[in-house]
């Protein structure tokens, strides 16, 4: 699967754009604030029906305009797929596949598998555990709808249980029987989710370590450790045991909503001990592992968007990364960089189709065409 052609009208700082892309590597170079990340965001829209950065759709309309249009022509198993996303201010977002409008956006998700790697991913390392749970949930939900469904149920049960605890406090009462039914549901769902998560981390770990080792080309041992208050079978017991504490605090202190993923480098937390380049490599390896999962499920090579990945990586790691994404295993790739020097030097030694574009204040010009048919 690859994006052949992208057209934009009034999307962020692009008034009009029509660009034909390489099915190999597409490099976008340009100074700060010229529109490289915006361009990636428009591609992200075509896959996920929303922005990677800004949940308020209308703020992505170019200032002083009333609508935006993103159109992509994809080639999927030699079939053309035309995806249209249009937004008029104060109107519903329109999403079409080959001219037919979707009734539900959820139907579209999954058609165009894509992995975005962005500096914003740093939150995974530096922010609280919620970010890491979001990452795990996001990847598992992509291939397991029952997991997603049970996760939503779990969150509802949790809200209800917390409401009940607050009501107990407000009315100075306590009703074990009423709590029982919520505890039982919470425990059952927690057991299921716990099982899935630990299974997933076990599968992810070797892939993640493989990618980290490849890019770092060294002997740094990285690890992902799933941390949870329970094991898959004892949730009811530990939730029950927390009742008195929960009563006092008026919320549920035990459950898979407290899970975390410990990220370590040579046994120490990467957040404190890892250098900036090591952290960047760590995130890259996580995203690449996610890529592998997505590829296995969708049975096609997803697109991968690498925004600002070279920042903070040394030359050796950059070269390793480009080598990696040039391999047969990966599909169409998008990369941004401040200038073309860096990329040109590396691409000169790797036989892969590629194009280099300069991004300049919402306009794009091709400065190198390394496609084979030319």
């Amino acid at each position: 699967m690859y994006l052949k052609r992208l057209s934009l009208v009034n999307f962020k700082n692009f008034s009009e754009l029509d660009v034909t892309l390489s099915k190999g590597i597409n490099c976008f170079v340009g100074d700060n604030g010229e529109g490289k990340t915006n361009l990636f965001d428009s591609i992200y829209y075509l896959s996920f029906c929303k922005s990677y950065f800004n949940p308020a759709d209308s703020q992505n309309i170019r200032h002083h305009n009333d609508f935006f249009v993103i159109q992509g022509e994809f080639s999927k198993a030699d079939q053309s797929e035309k995806i249209y996303c249009g937004l008029k201010r104060n109107h519903k977002k329109q999403f079409k596949r080959n001219g037919n409008e979707y009734q539900r956006l959820a139907e579209h998700i999954g058609l165009i598998p894509l992995v975005m790697v962005s500096p914003a991913d740093a939150a995974l390392i530096v922010d609280g555990s919620e970010e890491r749970r979001k990452y795990i949930n996001g990847v598992i939900s992509q291939f397991d709808k029952l997991y997603l469904n049970n996760l939503i149920r779990y969150n509802k049960v949790l809200l209800q249980r917390n409401s009940l605890l607050k009501e107990f406090a407000r009315n100075k009462r306590y009703d074990e029987e009423a709590l029982d039914i919520w505890d039982q549901q919470l425990a059952e769902l927690a057991g299921y989710i716990h099982n899935k998560r630990s299974g997933f981390i076990n599968e992810l770990l070797p892939i993640f370590q493989y990618y980290y080792d490849f890019i770092a080309a060294g002997h740094e041992k990285v690890d992902l450790i799933y941390q949870s208050q329970g094991i898959d079978t004892n949730w009811l017991e530990i939730i029950r045991n927390a009742r008195q504490k929960d009563r006092i605090l008026q919320h549920s202190t035990v459950g898979i909503h407290r899970d975390d993923l410990k990220l370590t480098l040579t046994g120490y937390p990467i957040k404190r001990q890892g250098s900036q380049g090591q952290q960047k490599t760590f995130l890259l390896a996580l995203k690449l592992a996610q890529y592998d999962f997505l590829k296995t499920i969708s049975k096609i090579k997803p697109m991968i968007l690498l925004d600002d990945v070279f920042d903070k990586l040394d030359n050796r790691r950059v070269t390793q990364l480009i080598k990696l994404v040039s391999e047969e295993h990966f599909g169409q790739t998008f990369i941004t960089d401040k200038s073309e020097q860096h990329l040109a030097g590396i691409l000169a030694h790797i036989p892969i189709e590629h194009r280099v574009f300069r991004v300049n204040d919402g306009y794009i010009t091709m400065i190198e065409n390394g496609d084979q048919e030319n």
């Binding site: 249980r161 009423a178 039914i181 549901q185």
Partner: protein
């Protein structure tokens, strides 16, 4: 047009009352009120009387809590119906929906909602005790749980199941699965997965539908 400017306080008051009804905006309310104004006096009298007597004279069935003109509703007092079978539903509309299928010949029990602490609804706000009372005093053989397939519905099922656990009765729940007329490839994975797990013997699918 500005609907806040009425030339009559009486008109405005009537519009306000109609606009309180679900699904009725001020525009529709005004149209309804103007329509009533044009009708003969007797008709409007009948209309308003039907509303006052509805509220004053209607009963909730002492047994099943369904709406009724007598103390015990026409379903509960119909001796052709199977009193050993109780179908537990959330509200009166659910009774009407199941009655419309003409497939059920037992009695009902209207719970009045489902347990939801977020909405301030606990077991005590529902007719839970009265259900337990019926099961312990009547000749009940089976209780069918017909609540919504939501998390709150399931939780309420669980609560009832525990409450009735000590009685020697069958407790069943509605089958959940692929809807009639649904093409399999368009059925969502969760429903389909559940239908596979809770598949039924083919023989039993032959004669009832």
């Amino acid at each position: 047009m500005n609907y806040n400017q009425y030339t009559s306080r009486l008109l405005e008051r009537a519009v306000n009352e109609f606009a309180k009804l679900p699904g009725i905006g001020r525009k529709t309310a005004l149209r309804l009120v103007l329509h009533l104004l044009k009708q003969p006096d007797e008709d409007v009298e009948i209309f308003s009387h039907s509303l006052t007597s509805l509220k004053k004279e209607i009963f909730h069935c002492a047994k099943c809590h369904n709406i009724s003109d007598q103390e015990v509703c026409s379903i509960c007092s119909n001796n052709k119906r199977d009193a050993s079978l109780i179908c537990v539903v959330e509200n009166i509309r659910n009774v009407m929906a199941i009655e419309a299928t003409q497939q059920f010949n037992g009695l009902y029990h209207v719970l009045g909602g489902v347990i939801s602490p977020m909405d301030g609804i606990g077991p005590a706000d529902l007719t839970m005790d009265s259900l337990v009372g019926r099961v312990s005093s009547e000749e009940v053989k089976e209780v069918i749980l017909a609540l919504s397939a939501t998390m709150e519905g399931d939780t309420t099922n669980l609560f009832i199941y525990r409450k009735l656990g000590d009685f020697d009765i069958n407790i069943s729940t509605l089958a959940r699965g692929v809807a009639i007329g649904d093409e399999l490839e368009y059925t969502d994975e969760i429903t389909l997965g559940r239908s596979i797990l809770h598949r039924t013997p083919f023989r039993s699918s032959l004669n009832n539908s």
